[in-house]
């Protein structure tokens, strides 16, 4: 009797990309719901526009490159990229911001490098950084948390703002503010002390109104990822401890004029970045030691950019900056192989 041959191992694989991405999406849901609760429906528009344009861009690029479309779309990586981008954007950004962002992420940052697995830079963060540089005006206005809006914004209000490419400045000024990080930085620049600054309404006990709850929800989702072994602890722990330690140092030495470590951890995108963004396996270091170093470097750089740099939120730039160093980190953090010194 004759048989066909193939190569071992013959055992079915235990995991798939799709499964990992799906878990990531699930882990993001608490954050998304908290965001809707705190900041209104704007985020939904971002998500819808981002995800649909990302899928369109992915399909287009796969088609142009002559790659099979279905298996690569159904791996959901484009959806993850789009979702992470959408969550980083201001919730009342005009519609073309998420649209352009999704295309930059998928076309330039991902497919020009060969698509899934080959991109050296985190696509979502590249898109975010490009948008930030290109459209600083639209990218720095954040809506006030619901708690501070006298009568909230309805679904249709937001719809109008998102679609209106030239929003009425007065209306926008009334409902928007800088993010807590941004405000903190601006006010520190005016020689205010942190105590004075934190008495403003957009701040609250831990960090910023609304922001702290969103961060905590992300923390919840992040733990799920750790638990499901989709990510290893090295990056989030490295990043958060890097950020914590450096901000604590400065906080200890100059308490009045530097925000607290807690503020740094919860006041902006640190948690989202630590669990969902810096952990992007494709662009992160791949050795465990390397991942820890990678995380710490991002944490420290985030603090530097936040504190002395031109951008109030440093995560995105820190991530792509350290992305550049990943091959070098990997090169110098080889594991000790069994039987070697």
């Amino acid at each position: 009797m004759h048989f066909l041959t193939s190569n071992s191992p013959f055992i079915a694989p235990q995991n798939s990309i799709q499964k990992m991405m799906l878990w990531l999406l699930i882990a993001l849901t608490p954050g998304i719901f908290t965001m809707i609760w705190q900041f209104g429906y704007g985020v939904l528009f971002n998500i819808i526009i981002c995800v649909s344009s990302a899928i369109a861009a992915e399909a287009l690029m796969l088609y142009l490159r002559g790659r099979p479309i279905v298996p690569f779309i159904s791996d959901l990586s484009a959806v993850v990229t789009a979702l992470l981008l959408a969550l980083a954007l201001p919730t009342i950004a005009p519609w073309w911001i998420p649209f352009i962002g999704a295309f930059i992420a998928i076309v330039i940052a991902k497919h020009l490098y060969g698509g899934l697995g080959y991109n050296p830079f985190n696509p979502a963060m590249v898109a975010f950084a490009v948008l930030m540089i290109s459209f600083p005006k639209s990218m720095t206005v954040w809506i006030l948390p619901n708690a501070l809006l006298p009568n909230g914004l309805s679904f249709s209000d937001i719809f109008a703002i998102v679609l209106n490419t030239q929003p009425n400045n007065d209306l926008v000024d009334a409902i928007t503010a800088a993010t807590p990080l941004d405000e903190m930085k601006t006010q520190l620049g005016l020689n205010q002390t942190t105590e004075e600054i934190k008495s403003a309404s957009i701040f609250s006990s831990l960090a910023g109104q609304g922001w702290q709850w969103v961060s905590i929800a992300y923390l919840l989702g992040g733990t799920l990822l750790l638990f499901k072994k989709i990510i290893s602890w090295h990056i989030p722990v490295g990043l958060l401890s890097g950020l914590f330690v450096i901000s604590a140092l400065f906080y200890l030495f100059e308490p009045g004029i530097t925000p607290s470590p807690i503020f740094h951890l919860l006041g902006g995108g640190a948690i989202l970045g630590a669990f969902f963004i810096a952990t992007d396996p494709v662009t992160a270091a791949t050795t465990l030691k390397g991942r820890f170093i990678y995380g710490v470097l991002i944490g420290v750089l985030t603090y530097i950019i936040r504190t002395w740099g031109g951008f109030p939120e440093g995560i995105a730039f820190a991530v792509i900056l350290i992305n550049m160093a990943v091959p070098l980190i990997d090169h110098y953090t080889q594991t000790r192989v069994y039987g070697h010194k």
Binding site: N7, R65, G66, R67, P68, P71
Partner: protein, 182 residues
């Protein structure tokens, strides 16, 4: 005029460089050895140089391109490109095409022992005394073909090397899923 000083200074520089050119004169070029070690040493001359080392010399002197050695094939070109830090390019078809390595086999019935093949063989892989049949040491034959033309009775043929388990290679998995369809 004050710039006379400048001109004098520049002239001094020129003299300095002239001196440096003499003082630090470099002879030989160790890169040739490195290039030579990458070449397959078939010594077949298909590169239009009389053997691998002359070709290596020519490459080092920028007088030959890296894509002229058919026995080395694409892998050889890639290794050269890597060594020299240039872009790899396809094999120059004028030099020939890459083939599986063969060995020469002398038909001992027909061989008249004329010694012509021995003179042609660049690596002394053929044994034999005058008027006696000759034989090829298989392990030392590089498959360069050079012994074929001189043989007056055409008793030499090139045969494929037998596949052995020792030189067997596992298949390389192909990622056809990721490749373009066209």
């Amino acid at each position: 005029m004050s710039f006379i000083i400048l001109i004098a200074l520049f002239a001094a520089f020129g003299a300095l460089l002239g001196y440096a050119a003499i003082r630090f004169k470099v002879e030989g070029n160790p890169i040739v050895d490195q290039i030579d070690s990458v070449l397959p040493q078939t010594q077949c001359g298909q590169c239009n140089f009389p053997g691998c080392r002359p070709y290596a010399q020519a490459i080092a002197d920028n007088k030959a391109d890296i894509n002229q050695c058919p026995p080395g094939g694409d892998a050889g070109i890639a290794a050269l490109a890597d060594l020299l830090g240039v872009e790899p390019k396809p094999l120059n078809e004028e030099n020939g095409v890459e083939q599986a390595t063969l060995v020469a086999v002398i038909d001992e019935e027909v061989c008249i022992g004329c010694k012509l093949c021995i003179q042609a063989c660049p690596v002394d892989a053929i044994l034999g005394a005058p008027k006696h049949m000759h034989t090829v040491i298989e392990a030392e034959c590089t498959g360069c073909d050079l012994c074929l033309p001189p043989c007056p009775v055409e008793c030499i043929s090139m045969e494929p090397i037998a596949k052995t388990l020792a030189l067997w290679q596992w298949d390389k998995p192909d990622n056809s899923q990721n490749k373009a369809k066209t």
